[in-house]
Symmetry: C2
Subunit: 335 residues, 2 copies
């Protein structure tokens, strides 16, 4: 299959770039030092490539991701790094056959886990991001509560999401250490072997965690690309120019339903200037000095944020030059 | 099925509000005066409700929408109001059995339509929005070109997308008239019976078009809600509070993969204050004087932009109070 055979918009990943990213991460954080987060790509075939690179323990954000990983034979040790009170869904995660560990941060989430037959948990600790995780001072009490209702407590997790995107590396180092001091302090009161934390922006900084939950590194996006992390942009949306306007603009078939937009407009791989996106379209103009676009021409749109972009697409096409090497279903979408 | 039985995040539409919107639109633009745009909801069951309200001719943005409408028995007269050069996909639209009319705005799109066996087209005219559509001065030549290659030209279309969202109604009226003057001028040189234009923001203003392509009116969103159009917000995303932070915030399971974000943050139906969204979470705090949120509590998140929100979800649940009346598949997603 050739690139020109793909209907557009189509999510494409450069095989060489993906291989570079997987290899670089496996060298930096070999084996179980990395627990890849599948929410970034929602694709069991890509997860299998991460497992081949040595990382056989995964992080998931949804029950569907847990179940999908288990079905794909990747359920050796799956952390559902998210709070869930839906007992019906938690039971499905338990029934998947994965070795399942669930994040808990409250009496309610502990009760739900116990009621659903979950056996292992991590105490999720808030380390500075206003999101999930208990107050660090409350971690010991919650661990005791979990053990009282029969749950094994494997340790703690705490995501320094307020730090991973800081542009200045020195600030990332300093604030990661501050966040991890909170987590290690909680860990002292919780016990267990696991201290799970980190993301792509702190993968080589967070030496306090026993395992890092990075996910974006595999595909990358323009936001993380600005941090100089050693990973390269692997993902794009292939689009077709469908109209060329008399006012110097062109229009391609890659709009708001093909792009995560929370980080702002995408960019164009050829340096063209994005004007705006609408539901099914992107309007743009050529880079300075570049020739006018032609109807039928293919362009590469680079999303500002990978995760919500991938979640719109049914397929992830692995490409090498003009060849489509493999087409992987984005099979972990939804909830 | 009760609302409490739904797993979250879940896309829910209030039956009474939907009925109000469909009824109000059918009264304003009865029968074929409205050609509902299905891109806004991507749901053939909702399209069937629009057909029951009297509108049996539909607008589509993608070939998948055309094919889905035809399969659902709604292919009496479908306008693919978008430029397509993919002959393979155009052939699928032709083979769907729908009466198919395709928008063309260039020699390339005319050639693709002819090659794919399309029989009827509209000349898409640019009326001010920098997106698709030919220069108005070029419309007559393109119509002649289309007829030369054997296509029947039913008329013109031209979307005043730069006007539909203007907050001041007087400005909307004035600029719609200016846009439609361009379209009618082109129509004079193109011929045919159809002048297709308009959207939810100009549905009661655009009296120049023979048919209006509104779509958002059925579900509405906060952006259109500010225009005072006579339609009510019918759509929300039901979410579950999964964590309550010690700093006054709460977190629910409705994030960037459940919300179109190009119009900015969603709002909360209960008046709570949205802090930010991340991939799988929304962080927020109670309205002034409101009680703290509890883990397990359900909230209603109102998206800023309907179309890219719906495109993330597999199901649209029609609800009446605490009851789920029907669950409709969002079956026109993708491309």
């Amino acid at each position: 299959v050739k690139l020109t055979d793909l209907g557009t918009p189509a999510l494409v990943v450069e095989q060489a770039a993906l291989t570079h990213n997987l290899t670089a991460m496996a060298a930096a954080l070999p084996g179980e030092r990395l627990r890849p987060h599948v929410k970034a790509h929602k694709c069991t075939r890509l997860a299998a490539a991460q497992a081949e690179a040595g990382h056989r323990h995964f992080t998931a954000a949804t029950v569907r991701e847990v179940v999908g990983l288990a079905r794909a034979g990747l359920g050796e040790d799956v952390l559902l790094a998210n709070e869930v009170v839906d007992r019906h869904r938690l039971r499905a995660a338990v029934a998947s056959g994965a070795r399942l560990t669930v994040a808990v941060d409250s009496e309610e989430t502990i009760a739900a886990a116990a009621a659903a037959g979950v056996r292992e948990v991590l105490i999720d600790v808030n380390v500075g991001l206003p999101r999930c995780g208990c107050d660090p001072a409350d971690a010991g009490r919650l661990a005791e509560r979990a053990r009282t209702v029969g749950l094994a407590v494997r340790g703690v997790m705490g995501y320094e999401g307020h730090v991973v995107g800081l542009p200045d590396r020195a600030a990332r180092v300093e604030q990661t250490e501050a966040a991890m001091r909170l987590l290690l302090d909680a860990h002292g009161r919780v016990g267990g072997d696991v201290v799970s934390a980190g993301g792509t922006g702190t993968y080589d900084i967070n030496t306090w965690a026993t395992e890092v939950q990075a996910g974006s590194y595999a595909l990358m996006d323009t936001a993380y690309g600005e941090l100089g992390l050693g990973f390269v942009a692997a993902l794009g949306v292939l689009a077709t120019v469908i109209s060329v306007g008399s006012g110097g603009w062109a229009v391609a078939d890659c709009g708001l339903k093909a792009l995560g937009m929370d980080h702002g407009n995408p960019t164009l791989a050829d340096g063209g200037v994005v004007w705006y996106c609408s539901d099914e379209h992107i309007t743009f103009s050529p880079a300075d000095g570049a020739p006018a676009y032609r109807v039928g021409q293919r362009i590469r749109v680079v999303p500002a944020h990978v995760d919500p972009t991938v979640a719109y697409h049914e397929w992830l096409h692995v490409v090498d030059g003009d060849d489509v090497v493999e087409s992987w279903p984005v099979d972990l979408r939804g909830w």
